[in-house]
Amino acid sequence: MADPRTIDIKDQPGFRSIAILCLCVLYVPILILMIFSFNTGSLVTHWEGVGFGWYGSALLNEEFHRAAQNTLIISTSATIISTIVATLAAIGMTRVKPWRGLPAAFMVINLPLMVPEIITAVATLSFFALIAGAFGLNFGIGNLILAHTVFCIPFAYMPIRARLEDMDLTLEAAAADLYATPWHAFRRITLPLLVPGIMSGAALAFIVSFDDFTITQLVAGPGQTTLPLYIWNQIRRPMTPEINAISTILLLVSILFVSVSFLIARRRAK
């Protein structure tokens, strides 16, 4: 009998048509959205001509600027904090003697992945309302950063932990054998080899935070509109292709971000 691995997936009946269907469902709407951003008319469904007018008005839109600024502040802060926490957690759970609370800690870190987001959102909202009521504390945009950090941690944690588990422990033993203290062994061997994991963890965290709607919608105070909230507010009004232009800009930023982190990971892996 033939080795199943010699079967070419492309020869399977229906493979081509199913693949094309999936790609269409995924990307045709996005393509249409991008095409209509170049519409000169003011309707998102009626094509009138090619122009860059909506990009101009989007880039001059003050509200869009504020939303973009908020998003960048929140996502960048949440990414940095959650990646640091996730890195420390991953090291504490793979590079030490197994400890009693290990499975419980693993559960707690991954809880945000399993709890429906709307529940986390309501819980976070009531938590902030409670501390605001009881202690008069309000961290402003810090509330959002904190909320985002919490749900970004498991996304950052996963690739970092995977990388740590794949790493050959003998390398760290070799470093210790060559007179490296635990700190030096970490800084010179473990950390450099962990960078691709940290990069992809950070990229995931950033995208998840950048894109978050449910929790942000409930927790955000006045003046804390992020890009997803801004877009959502816009489509409740009569829609213009400006929203397409804004979405296209966001899409390009995401693509740029993902490509850069992919390229870094590939260069590191060589």
């Binding site: 003998t170 070799a174 210790a176 054998d177 062994a185």
Partner: protein
């Protein structure tokens, strides 16, 4: 037949280019004293090392030899500091290092998987230990250059370790471990990943490196041939214990226990009963009623039913069955090129293999089915502890 009394061959310090390097009655580099290592707790407790004591001399090529799971790697890890003994002391030039972490021990390791740092160049790998010791840059550079020359890798100094072959990685791993000039170099089956030819080459290379650097080598292997060809002394291990320590010749010619004889080289085992004993030689009656004189190790008093061992090359085949120490029917002849193995079914029922070195002339043709005699060389038969 005359039997020589038990004698101790002088330990060989080394053999290079046909010159026997004399043993220097030096200090002990490593002294393992009553070391026990237990893994697990309670019922599931396993003793990986069961009260092991051994002294390894300065400048010695010392091999820990044994089957997998015998504790040889555990002992090496305890000396390196990757694990700590449950009991006992490990002295490095008289100082107990057992409680020290690995980065505080002047001992370096060549790992089975080499464990080269993939994000560094060959030169950076070799310089890592010196850098961690805080040596000045100029000294590190000079030493790395010297090490690259020693292992003949000058041309590849700037390469990533993923861009060089397995044999070259092996050399880099050696250079990296030798660069900080450790007091003792530990080698954990470093040749097992190489193919046969390269392994043979590296065996000679390792021996050369040990001579040129004058560093004490502790080598772990399960390959008896590797151990015999490279070592000054060998410790044979089994089930967490050291069974015998000695020069390759001692171990091969005078195994102390049945396990050692069985593990190293090929051996014939004959059942028999001790008839009489005097000054280190016993007369044993074999299953075929033939009697044979057999030596035995010091401190061992054989009596009753015993096993006599004879190496296949310590016996010879003769046509006249009546003149042999034992006799039997030649069952099979196996030709190996360099030598021929004769499988003989002895009269008492035991099987016996005689190895005969082949040569151009004087090949005596023995046909299978013929009645043959077997003569044991002087001191060829020995009684061993089971």
């Amino acid at each position: 037949m005359t039997i020589k009394p038990e004698q101790n061959l002088p330990p060989r310090a080394g053999f290079l280019n046909g010159v026997i390097v004399p043993e220097q009655p030096g200090k002990n580099a490593i002294e393992v004293r009553g070391v026990r290592k237990v893994f697990g707790t309670g019922e599931a407790q396993v003793a990986a090392l069961d009260t092991v004591s051994v002294a390894i001399r300065e400048n010695e090529f010392f091999t820990l030899l044994g089957p997998s799971g015998c504790g040889k790697t555990t002992l090496l890890r305890l000396i390196a500091g990757f694990d700590f003994p449950s009991e006992g002391e490990i002295l490095l030039y008289g100082e107990d290092i057992a409680p020290l972490p690995p980065f505080k021990r002047p001992v370096n390791t060549v790992f089975q998987s080499y464990a080269l740092f993939p994000h560094m160049t060959v030169a950076q790998n070799i310089g890592f230990g010196l850098e961690m010791l805080g040596k000045p840059k100029a000294e590190i550079q000079a030493r790395v250059a010297q090490m690259l020359k020693l292992v003949k890798m000058e041309a590849l100094a700037g390469r990533r370790t993923s861009q060089i072959s397995g044999g070259q990685q092996q050399r880099v791993a050696l250079a990296r471990a030798l660069a900080p000039q450790p007091k003792v170099l530990l080698l954990d089956e470093p040749l097992s990943a190489l193919d046969y030819k390269l392994r043979k080459e590296m065996q000679i290379e390792l021996k050369r490196l040990q001579h040129e650097t004058g560093i004490t080598f502790i080598f772990v292997t399960h390959d008896q041939e590797e151990a015999l060809t490279m070592s000054d002394r060998i410790a044979v291990m089994s089930s967490g214990k050291i069974l015998q320590v000695g020069a390759p010749r001692d171990i091969y010619d005078r195994p102390a226990e049945r396990f050692v004889a069985d593990f190293i080289g090929e051996t014939n085992f004959l059942k028999g009963t001790v008839v009489s004993k005097k000054s280190g030689v016993a007369t044993v009656k074999l299953a075929s009623d033939a009697t044979v004189a057999a030596g035995f190790p010091e401190g061992f008093d054989p009596s009753g039913a015993v096993t006599v061992v004879v190496r296949p090359e310590h016996a010879d085949l003769i046509v006249d069955a009546a003149k042999g120490t034992v006799a039997g029917i030649l069952a099979n002849v196996v030709y190996f090129g360099t030598d021929t193995h004769y499988h003989v079914k002895l009269d008492g029922g035991d099987n016996f293999i005689v190895r005969h070195q082949n040569s151009r002339s004087g090949a005596v043709a023995f046909a299978p089915g013929a009645k043959v005699g077997i003569v044991f060389e002087d001191d060829g038969a020995r009684i061993l502890r089971d």
